[in-house]
Symmetry: C2
Subunit: 439 residues, 2 copies
């Protein structure tokens, strides 16, 4: 064993941590456990000087000097020895005020707060830019996966053609179990809640909002402008049944909740919804709580980043790498411009979901009677939608049979018109189930 | 369209490129095509001032001022306006001299040269460290995949437990086609050569040397010391037959050429060989010419990086990101310490392949006679090797039948002893085929 002399003589940089919850404790524990590795790799030592949390008593499973912790978060931000502010409070209240204060004071900020950036990114990015201060947010998307770093740095030479992401571990866990065990959504959700894999109030996850937050951040990074949450068409996974999972499998697909970000001519589309992806693709292979992001660049082609999208230690891993990066920048007196504001002369408009053109999976409930499928095909055809394949199995349910249609590429608005007409027919027993397909 | 005023007023940094072949031309083309994106993301403009190549005439499909190109590589390195030297010559001759010269002159170097780093890494790293100069080599492993960046920066807070990599696109392409089409190795290799997917002299790829070069670089980065090529047990893919691919599939595995790097107590193992990986894993899903690297860190858990491991544009993507990084460092007057020399107090010893403990796939050729399997089991048992499963199908080949045995975890040296005894038996018709299994 070498002695610690080298490390202890290394220059250290003071860190203030706001929020001593799961991730905050993970960051402190990680910095303690791997201090020497980090110091030797970086040539600098991170020193956690102060930690703010409203709860001074809880046992976080990590030892810190008692006088390090305070309830006064603002004092931590203002402490002149704190040179980097790490915001791990979450939400858009106190977190926003403290992040803005730090940036105003000219202190670089590291945050894992996706809601804050998705909803107030523009204001925060602009302040960071105006004050010439670093803002790192690697853990806001993909937890432990260094995908933000890849977009900001590893793919800096690329124009981004598209991003497809499985960004919510709870949803992916539920879908994986539904398929593996042939269960319905509600049953898996209940068990996931009991086991702690899903929140007591799971709406933010299963309705797609969490994924949309992350999509907004990725789109901003890729295309250099602020994407409002309101422009992201978002559907969650409540409407997925085991029946659809089975049919999708028969057709050679698996259903995933995807964030889809694409450049189409001069505009981009940003959408979040259950999506059929071909079984033989990398994204289809992502099971359980894992996340993955497929990024296609004009030089690099397809790249994929995979790992744990949440959790104490994985998230801490990324927060620590952001802290390390800011330390290097501080040492050199430089900073990273925010690609999220780079306005790189790329498409600046956002497409309405009605303009999206893609293939669709449709599951109709039709009376088992001659000529019925012909009427459906006529309506689709009249709306410019052509059929790629049809599955009709010989199973009757209350006089209605399920018929699954896969379309060729069609425009969403036209599909909606067609489905409006179809679902009004007396031969249709239930609203048509519709999922988009990405190849 | 915004005007280019902002970009043209940006500070630029002079680049010299050594080697104007496939990758060199890709880098110049990428820098030209995406100059504005890069400049706005980085806040600095890369300016290719000089290019050295022995061939001044060839058409590289990219337009450069004629007087930019010279045959005098040393003059490019010494040019005082060239502040970053990009070495894309390859090999360990002129490339080494020029890299050493640049470092001696205090100029940061970007290289994609895996052979150079695998064989002379220690000398080069130490010179860079002594001169306090940046050395970036992202494209030396994984082509367009930013996995070196992930190891150096994104996972900086982690101790690395293991790395499993599919690092050679030619081998992966051959294995993918052998499986998909039920072909033998020689046939696919011939077709791959005809189609330009494999070199006329494919030895470096298919015998595993290229993968071993990359394994050495990854191991150095992960564990902070120089791993000699001679310590890497290396087997290529010539010995894989479609029979083994089929048996592996029956057992729930796919055969991949893997680089395996693992920490075991106080030492590491670094090995390259055909490996059975479970079908339901991400690595098993990597098909065709794609590469992927699974990195497991103590904080982050498992992460995977996937993309094109070679080719003009993907490699250029990574070289450009390295150039961008060095530019940022130069601007701030800072540099990145070389994690490959960080000597992070982690295990420093390298295990001999004989000490490796893993599971094995064995395909024996046995006389179809009662008691034969019992004798094999006895020999394995006497050497401390226990059997997990056996497949014996009812197919006779010249009186001998193939018998496939999967073992529990066993020590390589003991397995070798057992196989020595087994292959000497008169009931054995051909040397036993043996592959390692990674779960």
């Amino acid at each position: 064993m070498r002695d610690l002399g080298a490390s202890s003589r290394m220059r250290s940089i003071g860190i203030g941590i706001l929020g001593f919850g799961t991730v905050g404790a993970g960051v402190v524990e990680g910095l303690q456990r791997n201090a020497r590795v980090i110091g030797e790799r970086l040539g600098l030592m991170p020193a956690v000087l102060r930690i703010a949390d409203l709860d001074l008593e809880a046992d976080r499973g990590v030892a810190v000097e008692p006088d390090t912790i305070t309830r006064d978060a603002e004092a931590v931000v203002r402490d002149e020895n704190v040179r980097i502010v790490v915001e791990l409070i979450g939400g858009t209240g106190a977190a926003k005020e403290l992040v803005m204060l730090a940036l105003e004071l000219g202190k670089p900020v590291v945050t894992a707060n996706k809601a804050l950036l998705a909803e107030h990114g523009r204001e925060i990015f602009e302040l960071a830019e105006r004050r010439g201060v670093d803002l790192y947010f690697g853990a806001s998307v993909g937890g432990g996966i260094p995908v933000i770093r890849a977009l900001r740095e590893g793919l800096i030479g690329n124009r981004i053609n598209s991003i497809h992401g499985i960004l919510n571990g709870t949803c992916n866990y539920i879908l994986t179990r539904m398929e593996a065990e042939g269960l319905e959504f509600e049953q898996v959700l209940g068990e996931a809640q009991a086991a702690g894999y899903a929140e007591a109030d799971p709406a933010l996850d299963i309705d797609g909002t969490d994924t949309a937050h992350k999509a907004v951040i990725l789109a901003s990074l890729a295309y250099g402008f602020s994407v409002p949450m309101s422009s992201v068409a978002t559907e969650g996974i409540r409407g997925i049944s085991r029946t659809d999972i089975r049919y999708a499998g028969d057709l050679g697909y698996r259903i995933k909740l995807l964030a889809v970000i694409k450049r189409e001519d001069s505009r981009i589309e940003v959408r979040v919804h259950p999506t059929l992806v071909p079984l033989n693709t990398m994204l289809a292979s992502v099971g359980g709580v894992y996340n993955a992001v497929m990024v296609e660049g004009d030089l690099v082609g397809k790249t994929l980043y995979y790992g744990r999208g949440a959790g104490r230690k994985p998230t801490a891993s990324t927060v620590i790498s952001d802290i390390a990066e800011v330390m290097k920048n501080l040492e050199g007196g430089s900073r990273r411009p925010l690609a999220a504001l780079a306005q790189i002369g790329q498409p600046a408009g956002i497409m309405d979901i009605g303009e999206v053109v893609t293939r669709y999976y449709l599951r109709l409930s039709l009376l088992d009677r001659p000529g019925v499928l012909g009427r459906i095909a006529d309506i689709l055809g009249a709306n410019g939608i052509s059929i790629a394949s049809v599955i009709q199995k010989d199973i009757s349910q209350d006089d209605y049979v399920p018929v699954v249609i896969v379309t060729h590429r069609a425009c969403e608005a036209e599909l909606n018109t067609a489905l409006g007409e179809i679902d009004a027919l007396e031969i249709v027993g239930a609203p048509t189930v519709r999922f988009r397909i990405e190849e």
